[in-house]
Symmetry: C4
Subunit: 214 residues, 4 copies
């Protein structure tokens, strides 16, 4: 098994440093993606003479983009917290973990694009569907990472009991399943597709809260 | 209490690594936001033949944006130093700390937008008011984080005495209250709204200086 | 020898911190470059009335840019993993290592540019050739870094045997040689130039897999 | 003295973590600035039918920007190495160090702007002068930081002898003095202003090399 051999090849200290770099690189990518979200909210360029009259209306037109910024910030924030929680249990790494982590980060890096799509065309099915597809992909890839790491305690702490692991695997599917389910709804009616999401972060938030409490 | 249970769930070593990631992620977001401030100061595109004659005047037009860059750099710099100081006392984390920290970072990520608004429309109330509102939100969210962490020594060093904590809570409100107060002034007269701010960093700088000295 | 003297000047603890900063700085540059790749995939601006009809076609036009984003993400991801692997053996640093690392990072920082060139002009020789040249430069500079570090165990772990080092040196040349070879092919026919690449990541992936397994 | 009191207030462990955050934040800002340099080199947008004929000429027009990217990468790279070297001796921090470090980072964050100015208008005095002024400001602020930290061993290792400190203070002035000197030259003739710089990195490189060797 590859993961086993990684363990034997690297000393524990090396493995720790290597793991730290994976975590660090992921934090940096998530930090950049979350900060770039705001770059899409651009200040409208208006000639000096017309600015006083037109600026308030032009800023009001930005409200879907601002809403998209806030939702996306919350989405990346929640996934950062999940990543943070999973990696507090992960003690070793292998090629599969690195590859799944890069896949997760690729979908994170695509967030500014889909957030911009949603912010610009919130009333078109394509904006809602594209956004939902990326959030679902983020959720599934992180879920796959946790499943890969936790299966028969491959890369995690031996002390974590099988029931908690199973519960975490199930919980990981919550948000992406909701976003996946919002795709057919959004195709029919973009507004109701978005309504489905507002339920999702609420559910995840409450679940995360309960998880921390236990 | 959730914070207590976090303490018992994670071993001290795990808690330390988890805390380090929170600090790290915050530093990365603040570093990106502070560097993106300069991106708004764009070099004007002028045809080669006209450049020699027009460039100096066009660069002079950038002066409000450059001023906005410098003020915003100082603002984020000061809040980075405050964050640095608070987290030198914080020893544990819970869900509330992470959520409040993400809220603080969301307002930090919005700085390039409001800085651009101010740089482009410094003589309109909306530029001054939007900027003041974001800085106030940054200050209040960081103040709330410290209040949450320090209340009955929940997440901080037991050695910090109650009087120092109270003083730090009060001081945290200084800057955001000044920026909040500048909003009505800025609505009437944008210039005087900005004059109120120049007092604010001065006050914070001196306060921070005194705090380090004690 | 400069590297020797660095060893004697700094205590082992200092050297470790210094090495950590090099690794950290590299991770940050790679994280930014990999996230900026997505910035080139811009949402088309269409008037509200025409958006419903035109958006799908306009998004379809983005497909070469999306393909370029995915390839480039994989390329930087693979080189991040190589960098990660090499530095798990590197224990000391000297001026040459820092300079070669900066050279490697300069070619990484150029990736968003060549990815944009390829995404915009995938059917022109110049897009394919520019891209291949940058990836080859990334590979050769990282190979030179490893060669510099591993030559007579200058900066690496004494425990790594000469045969493994030689194998790693050879393997480092695999990808850049393939990309270099794709340049004349791409000059004649851009499409076949790209076909050459698709072989390359496959080869590197399999090689990395085998390397981890041993 | 403020620096003394910081030392007594924080335990050595806290001081180390605090110092690590300063270094980390600086690395992140420098990494972002160095990567954003490439963002200014934008791929020209040409209609599909004209692209084959026009693209080579349009890319050739980018050569001053590419040259500006390379010079600026080398400049930030060299200053990152200086920062790296200085902080390998710095063991404590105070308010002055943080403020001077932020000042240094502000001039680093301005590099993409002045690099863009130089890349767009390399034959105008203003491009050369603006660039030289920013590089001089970077050099002087980092020099001031080292002077502040090393004066009577305030924040540094006691083991560093006074002669080495004096030599490092002098060497820190080398590059900024050259760039300052290039300003009057550049005002008269931009080309010769730039010739002065090419001498500068060479001098710094050789000096850094010699410094590492000793």
């Amino acid at each position: 098994m590859p993961s086993r051999s990684t363990e034997t090849e690297h000393s524990p200290a090396q493995s720790e440093l290597g793991l730290e770099r994976i975590v660090f690189f992921s934090d940096a990518v998530m930090a950049i993606a979350i900060t770039l979200l705001a770059v899409d909210v651009r200040v409208p360029e208006i000639a000096a003479t017309a600015a006083r009259a037109e600026l308030p209306a032009r800023l009001a037109e930005l409200s879907p983009r601002i809403m998209s910024f806030v939702i996306s910030f919350v989405v990346i924030g929640i996934y950062w917290m999940s990543h943070h929680r999973y990696f507090s249990f992960i003690k070793r790494f292998d090629f599969g973990l690195m590859a799944l982590n890069l896949l997760f980060l690729m979908f994170i890096a695509a967030m500014p694009f889909v957030a911009s799509l949603l912010g610009q065309y919130p009333s078109l099915p394509i904006g809602v569907v594209g956004y939902a597809a990326d959030v679902a992909a983020i959720g599934f890839s992180l879920g796959a990472l946790w499943w890969h790491a936790s299966r028969s305690h491959r890369l995690i702490d031996k002390s974590l009991d099988a029931r908690t692991i199973r519960a975490m695997n199930l919980r990981a599917l919550g948000a992406p399943v909701i976003f996946l389910a919002s795709i057919p709804v959004g195709l029919v009616n973009p507004f109701w597709g978005m309504v489905v999401w507002w339920v999702s972060p609420l559910v995840v938030f409450v679940a995360a809260r309960l998880a921390t409490r236990r």
